[in-house]
């Protein structure tokens, strides 16, 4: 997912919609960018669905090395912010 930037996809999708809105494209070009738009919207949706939703913490080991580990600090605390 990292390779395809979600933002880029969204921006391109917006551009495509704007292009189509101008309405001065030839039929086959319209169809082409429509297809691209459909694929982009699928990609975006997929990116969102594929997201991992992790909360991690960078921990310093005794040897000074740093390590990432999952973090669930008092879930209660996170879920109920005052």
């Amino acid at each position: 997912m990292a390779a395809v930037k979600f933002e880029y996809a969204m921006a391109r999708l917006e551009t495509i919609v704007a292009e189509l809105e101008k309405g001065d494209l030839p039929l086959d070009d319209s169809l082409k960018i429509f297809e691209e738009g459909i694929r982009l919207s699928k990609t975006c949706l997929k990116m969102l669905e594929d997201a991992e939703r992790k909360v991690e913490i960078l921990v310093q080991e005794k040897d000074g090395k740093k390590r990432i580990q999952a973090f669930s600090p008092g879930e209660d605390e996170l879920e109920n912010p005052q």
Binding site: A2, V17, L48, R53, K66, L78
Partner: protein, 452 residues
């Protein structure tokens, strides 16, 4: 306050005395240095700053006019101990004396403040705080790095807001002490580490509110420089809104609170989803509209194309008319000619020789009749002429004397009428013509003398 003031007139107006007091004060306090604490600070829109300098026993009103205020290198704050330099004057409308400040320096915080100012000045010269360096935050980062303390409300607030707004975002926390000895170095190191991690797209650096000394780590040069060199955009969130640190100056975005920082870093996922949905819908609608439009355009052309048949039929109708016209015109001509012909034939028959023939057939018998009449009349008249002559002849007849008894004697030989007896000889035969009948006699005697 000299004696000769007593030489003044006994009765003075308020203005006069106020003016005299002002002149007197201004003469004596032309350039004074006064130490005190700022209170009752007011900053009206004029740009002048009004405040009260106070110490444990006394207060002195002061004003820093706009030009001086702009020259200040720090923000004037309530309770700040300062050394002010200026002159004493009187504000005549109120009859109040006040310090008109020329320059103002902090006192009390002393070294910290000075260091802050010096560092700020230096880094600013380096361009670290330039607006141009500030980067746009990613609109939808997949992973957010957070540099703060694990204890305290800040991390709680940040994680809660991030999860609430955008449940899909990954959060990577670098826990650091945020105050006390070595805090600055830890913070700077954490910023470096997180900013170098490829998945991190934006950093939040900060802590909750506290005393200004507690926030000092975020004014340290190492932290400020770490923020400035971060690979990814940094959002600073130190203390409360009024707390200003050098980190705030260096960060790409300054958030007044940690919660605000979390809000600035991620969008609301629901909105994104909605936008995505909307784009997909619009995409579909636009294409449908375009296809419908083209279809409509096409159908219109097609229907006109279909009308070609009617155009041909119209021509056929015109042709029918012409055909009818053709036959009608010729028939009309034929009728006219026929009528003319019939008229002429009538005239011919009327003027034909028959009349003349009939006329002559009458004339000729008439002529014939006249012919006959004339012929008969001619004959008749001639007959009358003949009759007339015959009647005349009859009347003149020499034989008429015979009726009276005369008779005519003539010789037989030469039929000579005898007038003398001597003309005959005895014995000669003579013929005697009587009134009726004739006699032939023989002469017996001739007697030559007449009977007298």
């Amino acid at each position: 306050m000299t004696g000769h003031n007593l030489a003044l007139p006994l009765l003075l107006s308020v203005s006069d005395v106020t003016r005299l007091i002002r002149e007197s004060l201004e003469e004596q306090f032309q350039d004074v240095w006064i130490e005190g604490e700022i209170s009752n600070l007011r900053a009206p829109s004029s740009g002048h700053l009004y405040f009260t300098l106070k110490d444990s026993q006394s207060q002195l009103r002061g004003v820093l006019f706009r030009s001086g205020a702009l020259r200040l290198r720090f923000a004037l704050q309530e309770g700040l101990s300062v050394i002010a330099r200026g002159r004493i004057s009187v504000y005549e409308p109120r009859g109040e004396y006040q310090l008109i400040v020329d320059s103002l320096d902090p006192k009390g915080v002393g070294a910290f403040q000075l260091a802050f100012e010096q560092l700020k000045e230096r880094l600013s010269q380096e361009g670290l705080f330039d607006e141009a360096r500030k980067r746009r935050l990613p609109s939808f980062p997949s992973t957010v790095g957070v540099v703060t303390s694990l204890t305290g409300a800040a991390i709680r607030d940040i994680v809660a807001v991030l999860r609430r707004r955008c449940p899909t975002v990954n959060i990577l926390i670098a826990p650091v002490p945020v105050q006390g000895e070595g805090a600055g170095a830890s913070i700077a190191e954490a910023i470096d580490v997180l900013s170098e991690m490829p998945q991190v797209e934006v950093l939040i650096v900060g802590r909750g509110g506290g005393a200004s000394e507690d926030l000092w780590a975020f004014n340290e040069e190492a932290v400020v420089r770490a923020i400035a060199r971060s690979r990814v955009p940094v959002v600073s969130a130190v203390g409360h809104e009024i707390d200003v640190t050098l980190s705030d100056f260096a960060a790409d975005h300054r958030a007044p609170t940690p919660s605000a920082a979390a809000e600035a870093v991620v969008p609301v996922l629901a909105e994104i989803m909605e936008r995505l949905d909307e784009l997909a819908r619009r995409l579909r609608r636009l294409v449908d509209t375009m296809l419908q439009m083209q279809r409509h355009r096409f159908e219109r052309s097609l229907s006109v194309l279909g009308e070609t048949r009617f155009r041909i039929q119209a021509q056929a109708q015109r042709l029918d008319e012409l055909q009818d016209g053709l036959t009608r015109a010729l028939t009309a001509q034929l009728t006219v000619l026929q009528r003319e012909l019939v008229e002429r034939r009538h005239l011919l028959l009327a003027q034909g020789p028959r009349n003349r023939i009939e006329r002559f057939l009458v004339v000729i018998p008439q002529l014939c009749k006249r012919l006959e009449q004339e012929a008969r009349r001619g004959l008749m008249s001639r007959r009358q002429s003949v009759a007339m002559q015959m009647a005349a002849l009859d009347a003149l007849s020499p034989l008429a004397i015979l009726q009276r008894g005369f008779s005519i004697v003539h010789t037989i030989s030469n039929r000579k009428v005898l007038r003398r007896a001597s003309e005959v000889t005895v014995g000669e035969a003579v013929e005697v013509t009587l009134a009726e009948g004739q006699l032939v006699c023989q002469v017996e005697k001739v007697m030559p003398s007449s009977i007298s």
